[in-house]
Symmetry: C2
Subunit: 420 residues, 2 copies
């Protein structure tokens, strides 16, 4: 729903009232006013799947086949450089990029989540922090029990943080065993946490599951009791209608990451079919190594365009549905639908102003259409998280002064590694 000439009253970080601008001038005369005459005000964008610290590997090795990319570049770089400092600096860079692009909340999956948390708090962003689990050792943890112990300890220390929530983040069906999945299922039910994982991303993932488990990954997850409203199923590219129905029946959310699916040649997720089956669909950027932008305005556009050609229907994923997926769809997937994702009294004030001006955005017949199909993140002017102004006229309000040097050090380190 588009309201024209309206105002949003914010108090103590919450949305107090949405009302005609003329009434607001009278009723809230004591409030500080920010006038945005050429703008649309939208809910803060929710990036429902990312690996924030991978900004440090943005463009490190593009245009390569998936396994050469992973085995020849990404994994060696991670093996050599992964550390709390790497995650802190990479996530700080990601937060700067995301905030400037109107993203107020991100669903994070990476190693050393305590460092990602530190960066998010420093930036003043809302974060759903993944308690990552894989079956192999990394610099972060040695085995599934160690990953879980570290993740849960972090949650115990940080659960009072107002902008922070947590998800279990078992990486993917091909990196997590049945036993670990069962344990996570039990813990997630006990603690009422979402479960965030990659699933049905590539054709080879499905083949491997059939060979190793005799069933496709979603069927395996069903047997393990993982399907339910708390499941955040990322990608779902190679998925049949029966599986879409299964996800719908269990109330699972799907996170669509169109740029990443294209860049890694994973394929085309049938988003139109998912929406028609009433699945809650969210949007994600994935990490900057496979996108290479943490830009949800761009994902909205890509998703809306792509869905039409995939469904052979120019009405598929219209602009309003893309905006819904990037806001309330994401919030619901993360279990935050009652707190954020829309501009409603009582919700936290995560808000983004986008200036619809300049020759690129003229004329304007439908502001939502303009936002999705014509605007870019460069048109974002103001961003509030929990009522706090984080971006004003395109400038970060609490930008870490050391940001440039922090990523520069990593660029030098990763380049020298690539050359060796």
């Amino acid at each position: 729903m588009v309201l024209e000439q309206h105002a949003v009253a914010v108090r103590d970080g919450a949305i107090e009232q949405v009302l005609p601008a003329a009434d607001a001038a009278r009723k809230f005369a004591a409030y500080e006013f920010i006038e945005l005459p050429d703008h649309v005000l939208i809910p803060g964008l929710v990036n429902a799947h990312t690996h924030a610290a991978m900004t440090l590997m943005r463009g490190l090795a593009d245009d390569l086949p998936l396994m050469r990319w992973l085995e020849g570049h990404i994994w060696p770089a991670e093996t050599r450089h992964l550390s709390p400092r790497f995650v802190l600096d990479g996530t700080a860079l990601a937060c700067a990029e995301m905030l400037r692009g109107g993203i107020t909340c991100f669903n994070e999956m990476y190693f050393f989540p305590e460092s990602a948390l530190e960066a998010a708090l420093e930036a003043g962003m809302r974060v759903a922090l993944g308690l990552i689990v894989v079956d192999f050792p990394t610099a972060y943890a040695s085995d599934p029990a160690d990953y879980l112990r570290k993740g849960l300890a972090l949650r115990d220390r940080s659960r009072e943080q107002p902008l922070v929530s947590f998800c279990f983040a078992p990486h993917a069906p091909y990196t997590v065993s049945d036993a670990t999945f069962r344990q996570i299922g039990t813990l997630a039910a006990e603690l009422d946490l979402p479960v965030h994982l990659h699933v049905h991303e590539t054709a080879s993932e499905i083949e491997r599951s059939l060979a190793e488990h005799g069933v496709r990954p979603l069927e395996r997850l069903r047997r393990l009791g993982l399907l339910g409203p708390s499941l955040i199923a990322v990608h779902c590219v190679h998925i049949e209608q029966a599986e879409i129905d299964l996800l719908a029946r269990h109330g699972c959310s799907v996170v669509h990451c169109p740029s990443s699916n294209l860049k890694l040649a994973s394929g085309f997720a049938p988003v139109d079919s998912m929406l028609k089956s009433n699945i809650n669909v969210a949007l994600g950027t994935d990490g900057a190594a496979s996108n290479n932008r943490l830009d949800l305005l761009n994902e909205m556009r890509t998703a809306a365009l792509l869905a039409k050609a995939v469904a052979r229907d120019a009405q598929a994923l219209p602009a309003h549905a893309a905006l819904h997926a990037a806001t309330l769809g994401g919030a619901r997937a993360l279990g935050l639908g009652a707190r954020v994702g829309s501009i409603e009294p009582g919700k936290r004030a995560d808000l983004v102003a986008v200036a619809l001006r300049g020759p690129e955005l003229a004329p304007c017949y439908d502001p939502v259409s303009q936002l999705v199909y014509a605007a870019g993140r460069e048109h974002v002017t103001h961003v509030w998280v929990d009522g706090e102004l984080r971006v004003r006229d395109g400038d970060l309000q609490n930008r870490a002064s050391s940001l440039d040097t922090r990523w520069q050090i990593w660029q030098n380190a990763l380049e020298s590694h690539a050359d060796s």
Copy 2:
């Protein structure tokens, strides 16, 4: 090829020399210097297919099926509003958008080309002006002979303009008769002009051709003698390998318009196969009614991402190939490959500087990859056409002061029409 720390010396609108920056300071000490320390300098982008004046219908009727969109919105709006003034104002808006986004040359197909020419000259852009022909009457012309007469008269009047070239622009196989195509083929050979047309855009176009002509459109064009190095075949979405081979054998160019093909649900052009068959591929935005951005940086990214998923190969259409298509590929398609499209001594100085700075573009391992996958048109800072600075620090140097009011008048007119 990426050269670091280099300078481009420009004199009388032409590129005089490309040399290390340190040498340039000595050798060209008398020249005006523009230092661009964080930038990449690329050839001006060539938008190889657009209908510029359709900016006035940007977002007028999105998310509709093709025929409802055309018959219910676009065609009625054109019938009611099409005029020289409409084309002048719409093209002026398009030129402002394109220049700011690093596009220095566009291949135009629309009615009243004399008005598009006026706008292009006013903006200082290079333009390949289509002499449009369709078999039905419009406000512009009454029948094919009238279209051709008007187009050729325009060419006769304007052929001395240094930034202007001409193409025949028979709209599409389904709007142009055999007789008209034959006549255009003869004239094009006589006058040595390219022939620019939509072809194999939709599945229904092919079906209709089979029903009416007994052959698919490209085979019909072959029989009519239209295939050759001067043919600019736009879209080529529904195309078989034998047809790709046919285009390759005849040296035709293909203009890929990925955003438009997705938005109208036309389908997926097999660009990787075309490149592997050594077809010259260019990129186009199509009109703003079906995109809705005249943004070739965005088309490069969309093309590069999409080609990978279509070819199921993450190596398809790498960043360097996307940049080639958007520059030299476009120039060659228009028959301008000897004048523009690359940064080489002797070519005209159509140049674009893109600033690779800010958290969105850090770190940078490969400037071309960064340009295609991470940068946006908002990072374009300087644009030269024929050696003249048209954009400086993102601002148009000769922006028509009346631009805003000009499109506003049309927005009001088109909105009132949509409501009626």
